[in-house]
Each structure stands twice: as structure tokens, then as C-alpha cells.
Amino acid sequence: MYGDRLRVIVAMIVGISAVIVATGCSDKGEQPRKTVVVYTCLDQIYAEPILEEFRRRTNIEVRAVYDAEAAKTTGLVNRLIARRDEPDCDVFWNNEIIQTERLAQMGLLARYVSPQAKRFPAQFRDEQDRWTGFAARMRVIIYNTQMISPHKVPKGMGDFTLPKWRSQAAIARPFFGTTLTHMAVLHQKWGPNRLSDYLADLRANDVALCLGNATVRDMVAAGERAFGLTDTDDAHAAMLDGKPVDVVVPDADEGSVLIPNTVALIANCPHPQAGKKLIDYLLSPEVERRLARGRSAQIPLATDLADVKTPWDKLAGRNKAMNFDVHQAAAAIPEVVALLIKARMDRDR
């Protein structure tokens, strides 16, 4: 009896081990010859099909690490910094520009001039060819069409601090992502004193501080707040889902804040050739077209794709991108964060 039990136990252990070993072996057996590792902050549902298409065409396996918007705990940038001596990543595909520039300033990015790069305006390329910007999102005010009539729609950043909109507005907690970039742009445009006053006014007007831009969208769509500051991709998802929302460009007469995706090759990366191929593919017209047509409705930046339509073409201010110095904005981040902390944007009131 005991012998039978022992045999059963041994058989189970051997069986489980065999499954595990077989799994490991089969994974390795199926691996194509080449591999490229990409860290991407673009939402997985948008990035995954593009990377899959690249794999299909080139037979280069793509191993991706995606960022998670809701928690910001992933710290892909931190992961890159932590592994700077021996990076495991080849390509950094960021969905914004400031953190990429910060990495460049830390010396973590390699110089690479993609043959595709010249198709993009100079303002979206690094002067030292360490990164290239493509397919942008725009900062917009999203508003609930059932709560705000068309002639009362907020028109600019100043509306967030007006008493008539007290407890009606929402923004993402401005320490992360595109909202941090937006704050850095305002810092450059307004100067630290005006930004500091503005932040204090935001708090005084009970503007909700959400976990991310998607939460802002959800709150506005659900009618919890009348309007908020978000990105076009988040707004477009709500519009596609039939939520009662619409958008305007804040302070349209001064131009729109366009925040491009950026792609860069990591210095001393393990697979530089495959990485360069992926960068070339990401900067190709096909990818920009795909991102423009998809759920994120991103805005193509290549000069030869001006004919590609997006839902944002008729928005006032769409055709005038606000100029800002990316290098300065990245360098000013610690100061901007200090202002945000001073205004208690990291805490409840």
C-alpha cells in the first residue's frame, strides 16, 4: 500500500518536472534567431499589434515590457537607469517626450539616425540624434455634453480656476506622464511664480486630482465632474464607446500642446542591429497611419502624411503646435515637481 503511494508521489513529481522542462525547452525551441527587447510606455492595446506585425515581417522576436497607466509603479525609466551598466533593453518607445530627454541627458541613449527620421520636422527630433518623435497626442479639455452646453464650454487653462467651475473640474495628478509634461510647458511659458499661483488656485477651486488621464475621462464621462484635462487618445476611446463627451483645445489661439511618441536606441544595448530595424519600422509611414486610424487616433507628424485624417482636424488650434524647448523642460522637471509639492498637489487638501 505504502509502495503504491510512493510510486504515485514519485510519478507526480516526475510528471510535473517533465511538464516544466518541456515548457522551457519548447519556448527556446520556437525562438527565432534574432530578438529585440523594447520597453514601451504606449498602451499595450495600441503597441502590441504593431510589434506583432514587425515580428511577422522580420522574423525578429519582440520581447516587450509595457507600462501601466493606472499605477505608474512600473518605472520603465527607473528600470533603464537601474540597469544602465548592462542594459537588457534595446529600444525605448515612450509615449511622451520629457522622460526620453531626461534619459538622453543622463547618457543612457545611443545616437542613431534612422533613414526615416528626416521625414519628421526638426522640432520633433533631438539635435544630437538620440531620439525621434512621431505620432503625437494633443492635450485637450474633455467635457460632458449633458452637463455643459456648447456655448459655455471652458476654453482654456484659466477656466479650471474660475469660481463658477468650483468642484466641477478634474486633472490627473500632475507628477506623471503627459500632465507633468504639460506642467513643464506651462512652467516654461509662464515662469515659476505664475505657475505656482495657478497651482494654488487649482487647489483652492477644488479641482479633483485623479490617478491618471483615463480616470479624468471616466469621471467626466460619468458626470462626476463637468470637464477635465486629458489626452486625445483617452478622449477618443470615450467617444468611440458612445459616452456623452466632446473636446476642445485649451487656449487654442496660442496653439496646441502636441506630445509625440519618442523612440530611442539604448546605449550599449544587447541587440543594436535588431533595435535599429525596429526603430526604422516604428518611424515608418505605415505605423503612423495605423496609430492615426486606431482607437488612440494619434496625429501623424511626418511631413509626407499631412493628408491623413484624424478626428481632431477641425479643432481650433489643431494646426498650430505650441513651441517649447524640450531640453529646458526636461531639465526643469525637479523644479516643477518642487512647485507641485509646495502646492500640495501630492496630498489631499
Binding site: A71, R173, G223
Partner: protein, 537 residues
């Protein structure tokens, strides 16, 4: 005259000595990520100033106070809810204890973000409960709402602990029955103190879980210490600053667990020696009322989120489609579970064995220290894991799944060890020396004597670890190798970008996968209880 002499305690054999050394080494290895995170916070040149920045000013204290405030409120609600449910269940029918405890634990596998989103849909301004809340001047984005959602997520822990306590101690004593002493008198004289102790112990454990959940408060716009850590880590690119905030808060968590163990231990030792008989069931009317109340509580806590998810998911085929699209991540999750949970179980068995032996002989062991890993935020272990993976020998395997698997082991070994210790601590130490006297080899003793007695508990712990690993998120996000995301990571990255139907379908699919695991765990737990009952008789 014929008093039996206790067998002399033999000196440990060579295999036992090896196991002892192995156990102490394992403790050291398990604590390495925590030590690495602590070094990260103080080892850099600016380490001390980071601590001064947080704890020399009001900032850190304010973050801690806010967190404790919310966690305390949620714990009070959770404990109240658990007491009502357990009391109703035990006095209604002891046979319901198992399914009720099982159902109470079901909200825990639902990711915090999904649960919060579900309640925002339910109780938001346009949701079915929104008008009710607005009528009493409340909104879902408020401390009361965050308190309720946190309580509903974690009250299953309290239900589990209190249910076991009730089953062991609330039956009537022979003396009460024979001498017709009123229940009230008995409760006042005998049961009040242990009940308060076990409630406090359960409360501390629930509070710890509530403290470490920063997703639900964050989504409801309530600030705890979580966002502060994120700001340090992601906006300021300052892991040392993040660790300087997290390490002392982790210390508070450790203190809470130690206190809970001390309270629980004393209470346990008071109740387990009581010879109990089952209370007579209540009248049919009382039982019907109790059943109705139990059903209402469970429907509110569990039914509402599941109904909302099902409504948003659309159909079974949508669930199937969601699983198909996530097949790679599902396979990766199963792979991690298949490797990490048996390792957890085996290592924990070694640790618990050592702990039990030391308890019986009064020797010193460092094994209880391993519980520290359970008390700290998982993110801190993740940061420690990243730090360790920069150095040999983990550097060689850092692009594989192994750093994550080892982190899972470090995180869940304490729970498994504690589980084994509680079950095995009263096992007789006489049987194995007896086998030795008869010349039976240690391996044969293990297979034929020890394993049959401990099989159910080992399998239960393996399943429990598997469940926890399958739903773990915080360390997975930090440590998953490129291209090897788990199911939890996929859900988390999709939650705000994919259509509602996809997210809901995937969540329901995860629940459907985890549900049978919970049933299996509870079944094995019942077997363990039965075996223990047989052994103690």
C-alpha cells in the same frame, strides 16, 4: 509507580542537522530583498537626508496618519461585518461555515483597480446606487465610500479567522449544559477576553492589507502614502527617497503583525484546550432570518460586482475571447504558479519543521523573522529584487522569469510557514524517534510516517500559494522579464485603455480560473481540520 518516562530527546541526526542549517540559510535568503531595499534607502550618500526629509518634517507623518486613518475605518467596518456574518452562520448551521467563508474571500482575487472601477460604475453619479448616495449627501469619491470598498475587499480574512475561532470556542461547555449556566454569564466570564483578543488580531491583519492597498483609495481620490512613493520613484527618479518613506511604514506593518501573532497565539492556546460540544441549532424562524441576513450581506459584497462585470462583459463567448487573447500571459502565469508554489511549499515545510522543533526543545531559531516579508509592501520587495538582480548570481538570470519566481517565493513563504507552524506545532515529537529506534531510515520515515499526516496541509499550502501568485500584481509589474507578462499585468495595463467589455470579460475569466482554486483550498483545509481532530483525539 508505573508512570511512563518521557523518551530522552535524542541528539539531532546528520540529516536533521543539515535541515536545520538549511532552514536558517533559507531565512537569510528570503530576507535578502528586504535588506537590499533597506540598504537602497540608507546606503546612498544622501540616504540620511532622505529620512530627514520625510520623518524630520510633517510630510512622512502626515502620509502615515492619512493611511492609518483610512485603514482603521475600513478595519472597523470589516470586523463588524465579519462578526455579524460569522455569528449568524455559526448559530444558524455549522455546515454553512465553509461556503460562507469561501464566498467572503472571493472579492480578494478581484484586482483592486477592477473592484474600484466596478463600484464607481455602481455608485457613481449615473450608477444605480448613485442617487441613493447623493440623497444622503455622499459621493463615491469620498472617504466613507473608500472605507466600505476596502472593507468589502478584505473582510474575508476576518471572516476566516473569526469563523475558526467561533467553531472552536463558541460551542457550549459540558458544565454550562449540566448546571444550566446562562450563555451571557459564560460569555462574560470565559469568552469575552479571548474574543476581544482574536478580534484585535484579525483586525490588525485586515488593517495591514488595507494599509498596503493604495489603488482603491487612489481611484477614489483619497491620498495615502502610495502616491507619495510613486512620485518619488517615477517623477523624481529617486528610489532611495521612495524607500526612505516605505521602510519605516513597513516597520509599522511588522509591528502590527507581531502584535497580531502575540494576541492570536494567547487566544488560541486558551481556546484549543477547551473540550467543546456543539450548540443546539436555533429555531426554524431564527435560522430563516439568519440565512436571509447572510444572503443579503453576501449579495451586496459579492453579487453586485459580479453582476456589473457580467453585464459589461456581455457574453460567455466574450470571456472565451478574452482568455484566448491573453493565452500567452495565462500560460506565463501558470508557469510561474507551477514552479513557485511547490518551491514555496517545500521551503516553508523545512522552515516550519525547524520552528516546531525549536519550539518543542526551547532552542533558538531565526525562522519567525521570515514573517517580515509578509508585513511589508510588495513594492518594497520588488525594489529589493531589482537591486539584487544587478549583482551576481542573479545577474545571470535577470532576463528570465526566475527573479520574479524567487520574489514570489520570498513574498509567500512566510504565509506558508505560518500556516504549517499553526497546524504542525502540536505534532508529537515522539513518533519519529520511535522510528529511529526501530532502525527505519529517515527517508522511509518521511514517506510512510510524516507525509501521510502532512499531505493535506502541504497540498493546501501549495494551492494557497498558487492562488496568491496567480493574482499578485505589484512585484510582477516590477520584475516580469521582457515578453513574459502575467495575466494580472495584462489586466492592469488594459484596464483604462481597452473597451469596458474586454476588461470585464478578462476579470470574470480570472475569477472563473481562481474560483475552483479557492474551492480546492477550502476543501483541503477542511481535510486538515478533520485530520487534526482525529490526531488530537
Amino acid at each position: 509507580m508505573f508512570a511512563a518516562k518521557s523518551p530522552p530527546l535524542a541528539l539531532p541526526s546528520a540529516p536533521a542537522r543539515t535541515l536545520n542549517i538549511l532552514a536558517e540559510l533559507l531565512v537569510l535568503l528570503c530576507l535578502l530583498p528586504l535588506v537590499a531595499a533597506a540598504i537602497e534607502s540608507v546606503g546612498l550618500s544622501s540616504g540620511q537626508s532622505k529620512y530627514a526629509h520625510w520623518w524630520g518634517t510633517l510630510r512622512g507623518w502626515e502620509a502615515l496618519w492619512k493611511t492609518m486613518q483610512l485603514a482603521s475605518l475600513a478595519t472597523l467596518v470589516a470586523i463588524g461585518l465579519a462578526w455579524v456574518l460569522v455569528t449568524l452562520t455559526v448559530h444558524c448551521s455549522r455546515r454553512w461555515a465553509f461556503p460562507v467563508a469561501l464566498l467572503s474571500c472571493l472579492p480578494m482575487p478581484i484586482p483592486s483597480s477592477t473592484l474600484a472601477t466596478t463600484w464607481i460604475v455602481l455608485a457613481g453619479r449615473q450608477g444605480p446606487l448613485g442617487k441613493v448616495l447623493a440623497g444622503v449627501g455622499l459621493s463615491v469619491y469620498s472617504i466613507p465610500a473608500a472605507t466600505m470598498i476596502l472593507a468589502m475587499r478584505y473582510f474575508g480574512i476576518a471572516v476566516g479567522i473569526l469563523m475558526v475561532y467561533h467553531l472552536r470556542s463558541l460551542a457550549c461547555l459540558p458544565a454550562e449544559r449540566v448546571f444550566r449556566i446562562s450563555r451571557f454569564t459564560t460569555a462574560l466570564r470565559l469568552r469575552l477576553q479571548p474574543a476581544v483578543r482574536i478580534t484585535a488580531a484579525a483586525g490588525l491583519i485586515v488593517m495591514l492589507f488595507c494599509m498596503n492597498d493604495h489603488i482603491i483609495p487612489g481611484m477614489l481620490l483619497i491620498t495615502t502614502y502610495g502616491p507619495q512613493i510613486m512620485i518619488q520613484y517615477s517623477a523624481l527618479l529617486d528610489p532611495a527617497g521612495a524607500a526612505a518613506l516605505a521602510v519605516p511604514i513597513a516597520g509599522v506593518g511588522m509591528g502590527m503583525v507581531i502584535l497580531a501573532l502575540l494576541l492570536g497565539r494567547r487566544c488560541w492556546s486558551q481556546t484549543e484546550k477547551t473540550h467543546v460540544e456543539q450548540n443546539p441549532p436555533g429555531s426554524p424562524a431564527q435560522r430563516a432570518i439568519a440565512a436571509a441576513l447572510i444572503a443579503i450581506i453576501l449579495v451586496v459584497v459579492l453579487g453586485a460586482p459580479v453582476v456589473v462585470l457580467a453585464q459589461r462583459a456581455g457574453s460567455f463567448s466574450a470571456m472565451g475571447q478574452a482568455v484566448y487573447q491573453a493565452r500567452r500571459q495565462a500560460w506565463q502565469t501558470l508557469y510561474c504558479v507551477a514552479i513557485a508554489s511547490p518551491i514555496c511549499s517545500v521551503f516553508a515545510a523545512v522552515l516550519a519543521g525547524r520552528w516546531v522543533r525549536c519550539r518543542q526543545t526551547g532552542a533558538f531559531t531565526a525562522v519567525p523573522l521570515v514573517l517580515l516579508n509578509l508585513t511589508i509592501p510588495a513594492t518594497l520587495l520588488g525594489i529589493g529584487g531589482i537591486e539584487l538582480s544587478q549583482h551576481w548570481p542573479l545577474r545571470m538570470i535577470r532576463s528570465s522569469s526566475w527573479p520574479l519566481i524567487l520574489a514570489y517565493v520570498a513574498r509567500f513563504i512566510p504565509l506558508a510557514t505560518l500556516f504549517f507552524f499553526v497546524i504542525w506545532r502540536n505534532d508529537s515529537a515522539v513518533r519519529n524517534p520511535a522510528a529511529k529506534v526501530h532502525g527505519i531510515t529517515p527517508w522511509r520515515t518521511m514517506f510512510y510516517l510524516t507525509w501521510p499526516r502532512r499531505r493535506a496541509s502541504v497540498l493546501a499550502v501549495t494551492v494557497l500559494c498558487g492562488l496568491l501568485i496567480a493574482t499578485e500584481l505589484e512585484m510582477s509589474i516590477l520584475l516580469a522579464a521582457p515578453g513574459e507578462a502575467t495575466l494580472g499585468i495584462r489586466l492592469y495595463t488594459l484596464i483604462h485603455t481597452a473597451p469596458d467589455s474586454v476588461v470585464s470579460a478578462l476579470t470574470l475569466a480570472i475569477l472563473a480560473l481562481v474560483g475552483p482554486g479557492i474551492v480546492l483550498f477550502m476543501f483541503l483545509l477542511a481535510r486538515v481540520q478533520t485530520q487534526r481532530g482525529v490526531r488530537t483525539q
